[in-house]
Amino acid sequence: MTKQDDQHSPTSPVFLGLIGQLLKGPAKVLLPIVSIFGLWYLIIYTSDLPSFVIPDPQKVLLSLIENRDLITEHFLHTMKVAGAGFVLANVVGIGLAMLFVSLPVSRNAIMPAAITIRNVPYVIIVTVLALAVGDGFATKVTVVTLAGFFPVLVNTYRGLQAVDPIVLDRMRILDASLWEVFVKVRLPYSIPFIIAAQEITGSASIVIAIAVEWMISRTGLGYVINQGMMAYEGELVYAVALVAAVFSFAVYSIIHHLGQRMNWAENNDR
């Protein structure tokens, strides 16, 4: 047997490694499902909680199928709020970070206010905004933005400051404009930092959007949870939770995946 044949025989390490690779994808999806449902059944059979507190998974799936139109409709509302809030959080966060770097005095002026806003309980912001501009789309998006911009701001600012001063000397000796330094040096330097912030803000946007809907809205997954709760329909609440969790996980995965491809600090093959 030649060496090459040996590599492809069913018992060779290369071959087993290949099988492992092939199984990796499905295993990544299957293992979480097994562990989540396993834990779920375990709690049902070992605790005496009533079924509207912790319903059977099959009832939840049934409810998901029965209520798919309702859930889809409200899911789309939530997605819009979370999506718009996420984008605005980035616009505000990255924009402020750029302002702070190019005009240091602005940092002293704005940062205390930003920290204050970040530390006000969202319940109060929601209440004030609802009184001021009503319980519509704008209020919900504003709350998601306010809740999400801070990690983006702090990380982007740190990233823009992370530039090696020696590289700034290099740019200066070449008489590069401030704009060139910003676009070609500072921004790329901050990409790993901005990506890290997206993983936080992305999931937070969804959670906050649902929370706000739960409080004030007549649309969105938060509202459906509210309805399910009031009707003691535990299955519906859990069905929504399932949708939200899958959605949140998907968003996180997409951001993480895109992030790894854009992140020069972790990627040598691009």
Binding site: D164, I166, D169, R172, L174, D175, A176, E180, P188, N268
Partner: protein, 251 residues
């Protein structure tokens, strides 16, 4: 094309500390001049003032008859720093091209330059994939990619281990024959200064000023064998005496 440098009565104060006082120095076009001296003698500050990266408190610098800022605007200056100023996300070839893009001038074809610098086969590697010596070569290539007429080098080989450092010095001496230009070179290493320079300027500390200028007349090209000549040994010894005896005693 190369540029002359005229340093006229340069002084620099940091708070109450006089880092440089009354530095006078005329550097001819195409000349290689090293600055050596004890730490804190202001040799790097002097280089940065010529580069227009720092302002002098008194005096002025003229490069080819113009102020440094003007020469910087015309992209006629190049800078090699001790730590490589490469961009961590750029491949070697792209990093060299980056200089040319920002300067708006292709001095030397980037791929040719890297090949001449012994980096053939490494053009598509990123900084994290290159060794210290190779990285410093990329750094040098990026610094002269736009063909600056005055090259300022701040301890470019000091971060390398001793063997690598000597090797890089010899390589750079050969490179000088191919692409000659005016060079100001800050170093801690006497042998490096003697090997490469036409003149070695010894700075004394607090305040930093020119203490002695040693001329190295040996013909070029100079290579490894120059290290074993009488002139090399004598000049090295002379500089050692000045640095370790005269200046140490004064301090």
């Amino acid at each position: 094309m190369s540029l002359s440098v005229s340093i006229q009565g340069i002084g620099r104060k940091f708070g109450s500390m006089q880092a440089l006082a009354d530095v006078e120095l005329e550097i001819e076009a195409g000349e290689f001049v090293s600055f050596v001296g004890p730490s804190g003698c202001g040799k790097t500050t002097m280089l940065r003032i010529v580069a227009d990266l720092e302002k002098a408190t008194t005096g002025k610098v003229l490069i080819g008859g113009a102020v440094p800022k003007e020469m910087r605007r015309q992209k006629k200056l190049g800078l090699v720093s001790q730590r490589p100023a490469v961009l961590p996300w750029k491949r070697a070839l792209d990093d060299v091209k980056f200089t040319q893009k920002v300067a708006g001038r292709v001095g030397f074809p980037a791929d040719q330059l890297l090949r001449d610098f012994g980096l053939e086969g490494h053009e598509r590697k990123k900084p994290s994939q290159l060794s210290g010596g190779m990285l410093q070569r990329v750094n040098c290539a990026s610094a002269i990619a736009h063909d600056p007429e005055l090259l300022l080098m701040d301890e470019p080989f000091s971060a390398l281990d001793e063997m690598k450092r000597e090797e890089m010095g010899e390589w750079f001496a050969r490179e000088l024959e191919v692409r000659p230009r005016t060079i100001l070179f800050v170093t801690h290493h006497i042998d490096e200064a003697v090997l490469l320079s036409d003149r070695v300027v010894v700075f004394s500390a607090s305040p930093g000023k020119v203490h002695e200028i040693v001329k190295i007349d040996a013909p070029r090209p100079r290579d490894k064998s120059f290290r074993e000549t009488r002139e090399f040994i004598e000049k090295t010894a002379q500089l050692r005496r000045t640095l370790f005896h005269d200046l140490a005693a004064g301090a």
